[in-house]
Symmetry: C2
Subunit: 399 residues, 2 copies
Amino acid sequence: MRFRILKKSKNSRARRGIIETKHGVIETPAFIPVGTQATVKGMTVDQLKSIGYQSLLCNTYHLYLRPGDKVIKKMGGLHKFMNWDRPIFTDSGGFQVFSLGYGLEHGVGKVASMFPGEKGGVLHGETEHVIKKEKLTRITENGVEFRSHLDGSLRFLTPEKSIEIQRNLGADLIFAFDECTSPLHDYVYTKKSLARTHRWAKRSLAAFQGGDPVTTGRGSPNEMGRQALYGIIQGGAFRDLREEAAKFISKMDFDGIGIGGALGNTKKEMYKILGWFTPLLPENKPKHLLGIGAPDDIIQGVKLGMDTFDCVMPTRIARNGSALLARGGSYELLNLKLGRYLKDKNPIDKKCGCSTCKSYSRAYLSHLFKAHEILGPILATIHNLWFMEQWMKKIRQSI
Amino acid sequence: MRFRILKKSKNSRARRGIIETKHGVIETPAFIPVGTQATVKGMTVDQLKSIGYQSLLCNTYHLYLRPGDKVIKKMGGLHKFMNWDRPIFTDSGGFQVFSLGYGLEHGVGKVASMFPGEKGGVLHGETEHVIKKEKLTRITENGVEFRSHLDGSLRFLTPEKSIEIQRNLGADLIFAFDECTSPLHDYVYTKKSLARTHRWAKRSLAAFQGGDPVTTGRGSPNEMGRQALYGIIQGGAFRDLREEAAKFISKMDFDGIGIGGALGNTKKEMYKILGWFTPLLPENKPKHLLGIGAPDDIIQGVKLGMDTFDCVMPTRIARNGSALLARGGSYELLNLKLGRYLKDKNPIDKKCGCSTCKSYSRAYLSHLFKAHEILGPILATIHNLWFMEQWMKKIRQSI
């Protein structure tokens, strides 16, 4: 992987860049759609490409449990398995420590309110299948013991295991194993957890560097031919911990930097927290803001120097009938399930160039959602993903 | 509408032809995918066109109840509403008398076994939402009183109302209102019902001819610019009734002829019953076999002079994980949900040219179905619809 900064903003730390991998390039800042189970729900690869996406993010935890990383390796790796020949990110699986453990216990997400109109916390990744409310995870120095949400089987994830799984999946851009604390964890716990996450970061890097030099290790004759490893910054909503994490992870030999964890209770708090430590991060490394992707959050993230963003929000709300609508420099949601749209001949957005808006009325989309037809979620997903890609294009052009 | 026979088989009554409408042509024999609620489940219009489909069939009953034919008329008609600019068939709604009434009471479909591996009866159309097992319909001379399966509201369908609804929807090829009897109805009931269906045929034709001459009536200066009305032949599994129906409907001023109703208990019986009366039908009119579309049934139907076929089977079984697989001159089903395919690198069918088979393995499809991802049904539907279109192409070429 190679990261080049093409242009820097004069007014903020925003930068336009390009991530090059052996599966092609990602122009940054970029929104990365989430394909949790090796598919962006309801989208064919052709549809994603025609919208313009250059990269996807898949969830290590889900693919480890089903169909299993070894199956995917046997099938020729994740790219071949899902027929996506462009760059792929995989997360470390560590986030599920949070979303299946504390997140459920505490009933919260990364920030209290992720985008307009949504109440309560938002969990990154797919938590649809989670039915047990009891504690599913146990964290030790070695790693995380948890029960599969699919069959209840006991599993153990460690830094070494996470790297092994991500190596088997074969994504281009992978993440170190971390613990994602909850906003309700206190200072003492968060500090203890952060120290452990840093020990895990070292173990992740060691496992990564000890791997096959051609496919995963360092010193490969072909820099583009190996996976790239991102370290992750945690530390909750505590300034000294975030700063400590930023310094610690920055000094390590990671290819990129991911920002994870609990980011306060409001969007304002999130921006404030990001502001504390992002200036401490090395300029020349690509930075990924994990699980954050509301359009306004992306603008703030870009100003703070973030390069890539993944989030299930645009695709998940589409499946629930909510379309993203540009309103000046901001956006709002259009609820296609409302009866008032059943006789509305207009497309979701007259100015939108997506294939949904070029061909279908709000009336038809409303009918599809009311009739529980899967074409409704499909067409709304196309629109929302197109919206996000246009949003990113504008951001890139503005830098 | 204009129907031209291009070539006749020397060995059977099979013929190759072309149905011309103001929305384009249908090369026959043709399989017509079913878009019950103004959408072929999970397919975009672009996908259907790229597979090669020239026409769809939508269900009058469903669209009458939701979103309502008046809403669709206001939105510019069914073609504009669903963004399908090619020919559309709508059925009369009369079949639901059967599938929501006797069909449920008797627990049977049109034939006892529709395709290999399926046990019990098969119902045409979508019956997924039917939860009430009590009698939902009451038939009188005037028409059918029934309760909406959506909200329980009392509705009344008559020949005149059916034509009015189909006029509002604006399909190119529409059907006279009929009663579809059950295989378990006795001779006495079926005879009585048939006489009523014939009175309804007269009323349907009168309502149709009394309509706006430009859009629906006769004597329009532009023959292609109006809807075409098909009469329907009923009569159950009784030879004299089927023959009587064939003679009666053939003499009337319909543009085409539909064959509906109960067709015995086995495929063999169905072919035998069709053989009784199809020789009595006028050669120059297009003939549609309603709700029948298993690949082997289509071959037999074509030999008996049928031109078009609609059936939910290929799309419904796709959503359940079954892929159609050519085997010599016949076919079989591949159950993608089986664990054995999870490590199978092959496509569904190596010789298949569909976009699913060109890009995805059985392993990936099996994973999608196991993970309840809607891309599974989508990709399987693309394959099965491609299979049906290739099947029809071969049939057309063989004539």
